[in-house]
């Protein structure tokens, strides 16, 4: 708006600048460097070019991990957004029970996955959990054994993680919902718009920013998916539910190959850049237009 000789924002943003440059950029460069070394459990500073990347992309398990992530991420995000939005509406509608419901939908987020993962492992275990219970209640034909099915195990991860994160999405959207001017919704009701249509055509677009927040949040969570896998499947059956983050972590620690792990991390970051850059640019343009 106005050219200012001294912009207070610059001062306010100093901590961010420090974090972004010193920590994040620094670490990223460091990681990049290590990914080009032959480091094992301790960082070495020799140079082996792209050997690690070569090894990475000839590694069955890494490729399969990427494949899994490609399946998991969209499912997880979409499911979370839909469920979260639905929950937000439910909570928003309940004048009285709202508080309780909110807590109910939110609590999974408070539990560490070490334990809840185990619970899900049990619930989904055909010999132990839901399928078993169904059989005991006389639904002999009922089958729900995704957890032990290499083809489907990835979906069980979606279920459990959505269960965990939907509440948070709900909270974010709820906060957005509370900002909407009631008159606009009234106008829509006067227009004779069915309730669902109001939500879809007016509320959702007005929550665009909240959705953007949630989506980005979930995206980072999805890419970093690790705890749930460890707690529920340990990547199994076989390597059916392996994910990049676990690959990276395994090599970072157990398999003492931080060079390869760094290479993996670098690849993830580059993917993120590839995903985000256009998004950011578009948003930037849009904001400009509205000013």
């Amino acid at each position: 708006m106005i050219k200012r000789t001294l912009n207070p924002a610059h001062f306010a943003l100093l901590p961010m600048a420090f974090a972004a440059v010193a920590v994040y950029l620094g670490s990223m460069l460091w990681t990049l460097r290590i990914s080009m070394s032959s480091s094992r459990s301790l960082p070495l500073h020799d140079f082996v070019g792209l050997a690690q990347y070569q090894r990475l992309f000839t590694n069955e398990r890494w490729l399969h991990s990427l494949h899994n992530l490609a399946i998991y991420t969209p499912l997880f995000i979409v499911a979370c957004l839909c469920v979260g939005f639905l929950l937000a509406l439910l909570v928003d509608r309940q004048a009285s029970g709202g508080g309780v419901l909110r807590a109910v939908f939110l609590y999974p987020y408070a539990l560490s996955f070490i334990a809840t993962g185990l619970i899900w492992q049990w619930l989904l275990n055909p010999e132990l959990g839901i399928q078993q219970a169904a059989h005991e209640w006389g639904f002999g034909g009922f089958r729900f054994d995704w957890l032990v099915d290499p083809e489907r195990v990835i979906y069980t991860l979606v279920i459990a993680t959505v269960w965990q994160c939907a509440g948070l999405v709900m909270a974010i959207l709820l906060a957005g919902l509370r900002g909407i001017d009631a008159d606009i919704l009234r106008a829509a009701r006067l227009d004779g718009v069915p309730a669902w249509r109001i939500q879809v055509s007016i509320v959702v677009p007005m929550l665009a920013y909240s959705f953007a927040t949630a989506t980005l949040l979930l995206l980072t969570a999805a890419v970093k998916l690790y705890d749930a896998v460890i707690a529920m499947t340990q990547g199994g059956p076989g390597t059916a539910s392996e994910v990049p983050a676990k690959f990276i972590m395994d090599h970072l620690f157990g398999r003492a190959n931080i060079a390869l792990a760094s290479a993996g991390a670098t690849v993830m970051v580059l993917t993120a850049v590839a995903l985000l850059a256009p998004l950011f640019y578009a948003r930037h343009r849009a904001r400009r237009a509205n000013r």
Partner: protein
């Protein structure tokens, strides 16, 4: 339309939906709870949903003050105050910075800010474990490793991308006229932030608090590396209790411990409810 509400079938539909959703969400909690109330013998029988034949709080007692987590066998209570003393500053500082960043990014054109933010967001895609090592290298010389300030700093740094994102988008969604009016009234950067923007962000602040407090409270890996022996958070004990490779497992204690640990975030959630105020920006501008 509360009074009208009860009449129409849609309301009942929603209520039913709400209940079934709640049931689905509560199922794991139910299993956890009853497991924590069963003795191991019963758990071994593997009837997941069966109600305990005799309820016993032993597991809870053990989890809180008896179970072994190494040489010490004092349950998880040890780290409680450590956790608190880590969570409070981490949450407050992180949210303050996040809100400030978001505000500055959304309203004040600072050259290069967008770029920094992009950088930050990209950083959010790296697993913390990867960043841990370089960060140790960085903070080691500053004698920040193994101290309370150290761990707080680390938490603040790792949460900055998301916190900033939340608030940036929140402020971007507000009607810009408000900011302009305040500028015209002669209010400066901080005054607008404190008196106008923060009150307008109460629900977002709550969400941020929920996220940050929970995240920090449940973290143990960073705590292990950066907090130092004196400040180990209680999740380290929890982890030692629950997460062992070749040791014996006492599921009832594990579950009790997990539930105990999550009590603090849960209370925050319940209490936060009343701050989800309606219509923050209502009546601001016409259009």
């Amino acid at each position: 339309m509360t009074r009208r509400g009860h009449r129409d079938p849609a309301w009942w539909g929603l209520a039913a939906l709400a209940l079934s959703a709640a049931a689905f969400f509560l199922l794991p909690l139910y299993v956890m709870a009853i497991t924590s109330l069963k003795p191991m013998e019963e758990i071994r029988l593997g009837h997941l949903f069966a109600w305990p034949t005799q309820l016993s709080l032993d597991a809870w007692r053990a989890a809180w003050s008896g179970a072994c987590t190494g040489v010490a066998c004092e349950g998880i209570r040890g780290g409680f105050w450590n956790s608190v003393s880590i969570v409070l500053p981490s949450t407050i500082i992180a949210i303050t910075l996040g809100a400030l960043n978001g505000y500055a990014l959304a309203y004040w054109r600072a050259r290069g800010a967008a770029l920094l933010f992009g950088l930050l967001m990209i950083g959010a895609f790296i697993p913390v474990q990867v960043l841990m090592f370089p960060l140790v290298r960085m903070l080691g010389p500053l004698h920040l490793v193994g101290s309370l300030p150290g761990i707080v700093l680390v938490h603040v740094i790792f949460s900055m991308p998301i916190m900033t994102l939340i608030f940036r988008n929140h402020f971007a969604a507000l009607p810009r006229e408000l900011f302009l009016a305040a500028r015209l009234d002669g209010a400066g950067f901080l005054r607008i932030f404190v008196l106008l923007m923060l009150p307008l962000s109460v629900p977002m602040l709550v969400v941020a608090a929920i996220m940050q407090a929970t995240g920090v409270w449940n973290d143990y890996i960073l705590g292990l590396v950066f907090a130092g022996r004196e400040h180990l958070p209680m999740t380290v004990q929890l982890n030692n209790l629950v997460n062992t490779t070749t040791g014996t497992k006492l599921y009832n204690v594990d579950m009790a411990a997990t539930l105990l640990t999550s009590l603090v975030p849960l209370t925050i959630y319940v209490l936060s409810g009343r701050w989800f105020v309606r219509g923050i920006a209502a009546g601001a501008v016409r259009g």
